[in-house]
C-alpha cells in the first residue's frame, strides 16, 4: 500500500452529522466543484445513529422518523447529491488556514480546500468535568455512551439507574435504559421543575413511572468495582440522601466538540464555547464556516440540519466573491438569564438561519419578555408566546435586533 497523495478540494465539510450532511446535500448540486465530507466514525449520520426513537426530521424533512432512519436518509441524500462522504477519516489538526491533516486507514494526508465548514457537533459533559467526587466504579455513563453501547453494540448497562438531568435527552436516556432492561428509578433536576417540555415530561413520568427529584444535585458516587449508590442533595434544604443503584447516566450539560476550532486559532465564543460566528455562519478566518451544535450546544437535529441548508448560499458567495459580506457587524452578548446566545455576531445585511437567534435560558419563564439593550438604551422589549426553559434552546426572532446599529457597540439580549 502507498501513502495517499495530498489533495485539494473545493468545499471540505468536517463532520457527517445532520448539519454536515445537509450542507453537503444542499451544496453539491449548486457547486461547480467537489464537496468532500469527512467523519471519524465508521458510519455517517452523527448522534442520531444511536438515538433509536422517533422524533427526527420534523422541520427539515417534514417527516417523523427514528434517529437511525434519519441518519441513513441524510447520508443517502448527501451521496445522491454528488457529495463524497469519507468515514473513518479523522481530521487531527491544521497545516494552514484551510489545510487539514487527516488520519485514516488509507494513510496520513493533507487536504486543502477553498472553503471549510466545521460541523463537529457537541457532547455531554462527563462526570469528571462536572467534578462529582467519590469512588470511580464502573456503571457511570453519558447518554451518548449509553446509547452507543445499547443500540450499536447491543450490550446491557446495568439493572437500576439514576439519571442526572431532566432535559429532552434525559428522557431519551430513560427510554434506552428501559429497552436495555435497566430500570430507571429516579431522574434529578437542579431546577424547580423538569427542564423538558411538559408535553414530554408528564407522559414520560407516567409511562416510565419515573419520578423526578427537582432542586436536587448529585454530590457523590460510591461503589468499588461497580456503582452501589449515589448521594443526592436538596439544594434548598441541604438535606442529603442515598439512592441505591448500579448505573448513573449523566445527561445534558452540553459542550461543543471545539478542539479543531480552537486548534485553528478561530475567535471563540466564551458563552457557547464554540467558535464565534456571524449571521452568515462565518468564523473569524475567511473561508472557514461553523454550523450545527458546534455553534449552539445543543438544539435538535433538525435545527442543526437547517443550519447546513442555510450556510450554502454564504459559502457559494464566499467562493464567488472572496467574502460573505462587507456589511458591519454587531457583537451580541447573553444577558444574566441566558447562558449563551448564538450567533455571537450580527451582520446587519444577513439574516441568521430561520431568522432566529438561539439562546439557552438559565431558568423557567412561562411568559418571557425579551429585552434588547445597546449602549445602556433599551431598544426592544417584547413578549414571546413560548416559554423559556433551562433544558432547551429558546429562539428569539432576529428582527428584534433590527434597530441596533454597528456604531453603538455590543448588544445584550436577555429574557425575564
Amino acid at each position: 500500500m502507498t501513502t495517499p497523495a495530498d489533495l485539494t478540494t473545493d468545499v471540505l465539510i468536517i463532520g457527517a452529522g445532520p448539519a454536515g450532511l445537509t450542507a453537503a446535500a444542499t451544496l453539491a448540486p449548486r457547486l461547480d466543484g467537489e464537496v468532500l465530507v469527512l467523519d471519524r466514525e465508521a458510519a455517517a449520520g452523527g448522534i442520531p445513529r444511536h438515538s433509536d426513537h422517533p422524533g427526527y426530521g420534523i422541520r427539515d424533512l417534514k417527516t417523523f422518523i427514528s434517529g437511525p432512519a434519519y441518519a441513513r436518509r441524510l447520508a443517502g441524500n448527501a451521496a445522491r447529491a454528488g457529495a463524497r462522504v469519507r468515514t473513518l477519516a479523522m481530521v487531527t489538526g491544521w497545516a494552514g488556514p484551510r489545510t487539514v491533516e487527516v488520519t485514516s486507514p488509507d494513510g496520513r494526508q493533507r487536504i486543502t480546500a477553498r472553503a471549510i465548514i466545521l460541523a463537529t457537533g457537541a457532547r455531554e459533559r462527563p462526570r469528571t468535568a462536572r467534578l462529582i467526587p467519590g469512588d470511580r466504579p464502573a456503571g457511570v455513563y453519558t447518554t451518548g455512551q449509553l446509547q452507543n453501547l445499547v443500540h450499536l453494540h447491543h450490550r446491557t448497562p446495568g439493572t437500576r439507574a439514576v439519571i442526572i438531568g431532566a432535559e429532552l435527552v434525559s428522557w431519551s436516556a430513560a427510554v434506552t435504559l428501559r429497552e436495555a432492561h435497566c430500570r430507571p428509578v429516579l431522574m434529578t433536576s437542579t431546577h424547580h421543575r423538569p427542564e423538558s417540555y411538559a408535553a414530554f415530561a408528564i407522559p414520560g413520568r407516567l409511562a416510565l413511572r419515573l419520578p423526578v427529584a427537582t432542586r436536587t444535585r448529585i454530590t457523590k458516587i460510591t461503589g468499588h468495582g461497580r456503582v452501589q449508590a449515589v448521594e443526592l442533595e436538596h439544594l434548598d434544604t441541604g438535606t442529603r440522601r442515598t439512592i441505591d443503584c448500579d448505573t448513573v447516566v449523566f445527561t445534558g450539560d452540553w459542550i461543543p466538540d471545539n478542539e479543531l476550532a480552537r486548534a485553528a486559532g478561530l475567535d471563540m465564543d466564551p458563552a457557547t464555547r464554540g467558535p464565534l460566528i456571524d449571521t452568515a455562519q462565518a468564523t473569524s478566518t475567511p473561508g472557514v464556516f461553523a454550523i450545527g451544535n458546534l455553534t449552539h450546544p445543543v438544539d435538535t437535529a433538525d435545527i442543526a440540519a437547517l443550519d447546513g441548508r442555510a450556510v450554502t448560499s454564504h459559502v457559494l458567495r464566499y467562493l464567488r466573491e472572496g467574502a460573505t459580506t462587507t456589511a458591519p457587524e454587531i457583537r451580541v452578548l447573553p444577558g444574566d438569564n441566558l447562558l449563551w446566545i448564538s450567533p455571537g455576531r450580527i451582520n446587519t445585511a444577513v439574516t441568521p438561519p430561520r431568522g432566529r437567534l438561539l439562546s439557552w435560558p438559565r431558568l423557567h419563564i412561562r411568559v418571557p419578555t425579551v429585552t434588547i439593550r445597546q449602549d445602556h438604551i433599551t431598544l426592544t422589549r417584547r413578549r414571546l408566546p413560548w416559554p423559556a426553559s433551562p433544558g432547551r434552546v429558546f429562539r428569539i426572532p432576529s428582527s428584534f435586533l433590527a434597530t441596533a446599529t454597528a456604531k453603538d457597540g455590543p448588544v445584550t439580549v436577555d429574557v425575564a
Binding site: P105, D106, R123, P133, A138, G144, R262
Partner: protein, 482 residues
C-alpha cells in the same frame, strides 16, 4: 507469546525460586528485572490483577533530580542515581519523558527567603544547576502564572515521565529475562523454613529461597508475617485534577510550591499526555482502599489552581483521581536485609520511588551479595523491550505515515480525544503483559482517558477489547473514570 497467567498451584508449589519479589509496582518490577539479570530464578508476586495498578499508577509522574531530598539520606543517593538510570532506560525503551524543567515559585517573603537554602540543599545533594530568578523572569517562563509571584528557584532537570509505562516496561523486561509474573496472588502467610520460605498466596503457594518485600501500601502487613512489628504504613491520600489538553499551552514547566512548615503544597504540571495536572492534596487516612475523591479536595484544589494559573479554571477537567502514598513515619527509605530469615524489606518508598526504583533495585542487589545467591551476570540477556509511545512529545502512531502505510490499523482512530488507534489496542493485547480489564487497557494506550470519557468511543473500545479476549461482561467491566 507466553502467558502471564499463573501456573497451577501444585506445579508452582514444587518450584523453588531463588527470589520472590512481593509487589508488582514500580519498585518490585525494577527489583525483579535487576535480579533476573543474574543466575537467579525470580517470581514477581502481585496481589492485584495487573502490574503498576496500586500506588504506582497515581503518581505525580515527575522524574526527580533529588534536589530537595534530605542530604546524606539513602533516598537522596538513590533518587540521584535513579534519575540517571531511569533517564537512560527511558531512552532505550521508548518510555516517554519530557524535559520540561521546574520552577519553585515563591509567593511570600518567607518563601522567597527560603530559596537560597533550597539551592544550597540541592548542591549538598549533588545537584548544582538550580538558579534563583526574579519575578520578571518567572513571568517570562510562565506567562500565565497568577499575579503575586516574587521569585523562583529553577530546577532545569526536573522532567515529566509516563508513570504507567515505567512499571510496565520494567515488568515486561523482567518477564523477558525469565521472571515469572504471578498475578492475583495476595500474600496472606509466610512459613520461613530451613532452606526456603513458602508464601501462602490467594493464587497458591510460592516457594523461594529469598523473599523481598516491596508491597508498598501492604508492606507493613507483609513485614508482620516475617515476625516484625517495626512500622505502620499510613496511606496518605493525594487527590489530583487533570485538565483538558487545551490547557497545556498555559503550563510549560512544572510549577512547584516552596515547602514551608505548613506542608508541601500543591503543584501544577504538564503531563506527558499533553494535559495539565493540579494537585495533590495530602490527607492521612486509615483506609488503604480509600481512593475516592472528595468535595473538600476538589474545592481546595480549585482554590489553589485559581491562584496559580487563573486561566486554568476556564478549561474543562478531564479526569480526577486519588492516589495513596505509602507513607511511613520516617525521614528516609527503610531498606533492610535480614539474612537469617532470607528476607529483605523495601519500605517507605514515597513518591520519589518512581524515579529511584532502578537505583533501589541496584541497592537491593548489593545487599544480597554474600548471601549464597549466585550473583553472576547471566549471559545473552534479551535487549530492553520497546514500549509503545503514549506520550505527546514523540510521534504517535496516528501521526506516522509510514507506519499506517505498513499497517492500516494504525490509521484507524478509535478513541478520538486521545487519538488511540485500533492497532495500538491490538498490540496491547498481544504484548507480554496484556491488560486484564479496561483500566489496564487505558494505562497501556490512553483509550477512553480523554475529555469525552467514552461518550464517543466507550462502546467501540469495549467491543474491540472483547474481540481481543477481554471478556469482562460490560456491566461488570471496571472502566472507572480516570
Amino acid at each position: 507469546m507466553t502467558s502471564a497467567t499463573p501456573r497451577p498451584a501444585t506445579r508452582r508449589g514444587q518450584t523453588t525460586y531463588d527470589i520472590a519479589v512481593i509487589g508488582g509496582g514500580v519498585v518490585g518490577a525494577a527489583i525483579a528485572r535487576e535480579l533476573a539479570g543474574y543466575q537467579l530464578t525470580v517470581a514477581l508476586v502481585e496481589a492485584r490483577s495487573d502490574v503498576g495498578d496500586g500506588t504506582s499508577k497515581a503518581n505525580t509522574a515527575i522524574l526527580h533530580t533529588g534536589y530537595d531530598a534530605k542530604p546524606g539520606t539513602l533516598e537522596s543517593r538513590l533518587v540521584r542515581r535513579g534519575h540517571q538510570l531511569l533517564g537512560d532506560y527511558a531512552a532505550r525503551t521508548g518510555i516517554p519523558v519530557e524535559r520540561t524543567g521546574a520552577l519553585l515559585v515563591a509567593w511570600t517573603r518567607e518563601e522567597l527567603d527560603a530559596l537560597p537554602g533550597l539551592k544550597a540543599k540541592a548542591e549538598q545533594n549533588g545537584y548544582d544547576r538550580c538558579q534563583i530568578i526574579g519575578a520578571s523572569q518567572v513571568y517570562q517562563e510562565l506567562p500565565h502564572l497568577g499575579s503575586g509571584a516574587l521569585g523562583a528557584l529553577t530546577v532545569p532537570d526536573e522532567s515529566i515521565i509516563c508513570t504507567w509505562t515505567v512499571p510496565l516496561a520494567l515488568a515486561t523486561d523482567a518477564r523477558l529475562r525469565g521472571t515469572e509474573l504471578l498475578l492475583n496472588a495476595r500474600v496472606d502467610g509466610a512459613d520461613v523454613k530451613e532452606d526456603a520460605t513458602v508464601l501462602r498466596t490467594t493464587a497458591g503457594d510460592v516457594r523461594a529461597r529469598y523473599v523481598i518485600n516491596a508491597a508498598g501500601l501492604g508492606c507493613d502487613a507483609v513485614d508482620r508475617l516475617f515476625g516484625y512489628d517495626r512500622f505502620t504504613v499510613t496511606p496518605r491520600r493525594g487527590e489530583l485534577l487533570v485538565f483538558d489538553k487545551q490547557a497545556r499551552p498555559l503550563v510549560n514547566r512544572i510549577v512547584l510550591p516552596v515547602p514551608t512548615k505548613r506542608g508541601k503544597g500543591v503543584l501544577v504540571s504538564p503531563t506527558i499526555y499533553g494535559n495539565v495536572m493540579l494537585g495533590p492534596t495530602a490527607e492521612d487516612l486509615p483506609d488503604k482502599t480509600a481512593t475516592g475523591t472528595s468535595e473538600t479536595g476538589f474545592e481546595f484544589l480549585l482554590r489553589k489552581g485559581e491562584k496559580l494559573i487563573p486561566d486554568l479554571l476556564r478549561e474543562e477537567v478531564t479526569a480526577s483521581y486519588a492516589g495513596l502514598r505509602a507513607a511511613i513515619n520516617r525521614d528516609d527509605y527503610l531498606i533492610h536485609a535480614d539474612h537469617d530469615r532470607r528476607y529483605l524489606l523495601v519500605a517507605g518508598i514515597r513518591s520519589t520511588g518512581l524515579t529511584s526504583a532502578m537505583a533501589v533495585a541496584e541497592h537491593v542487589r548489593d545487599l544480597l551479595a554474600g548471601t549464597g545467591l549466585d550473583l553472576a551476570p547471566r549471559g545473552q540477556l534479551p535487549g530492553p523491550p520497546q514500549m509503545p509511545n503514549i506520550g505527546e512529545n514523540f510521534t504517535r502512531p496516528y501521526q506516522d505515515a509510514a507506519r499506517i502505510t505498513a499497517d492500516p490499523a494504525y490509521g484507524r482512530v478509535v478513541c478520538f480525544c486521545e487519538r488511540v488507534t485500533a492497532g495500538e489496542i491490538r498490540d496491547a493485547y498481544r504484548s507480554p503483559i496484556p491488560p486484564c480489564d479496561l483500566n489496564g487497557l487505558r494505562r497501556r494506550t490512553r483509550a477512553m482517558n480523554g475529555r469525552c470519557q467514552g461518550f464517543f468511543c466507550g462502546a467501540e473500545v469495549l467491543a474491540l477489547a472483547g474481540s481481543h479476549g477481554d471478556l469482562t461482561p460490560p456491566g461488570r467491566a471496571t472502566h472507572e473514570t480516570r
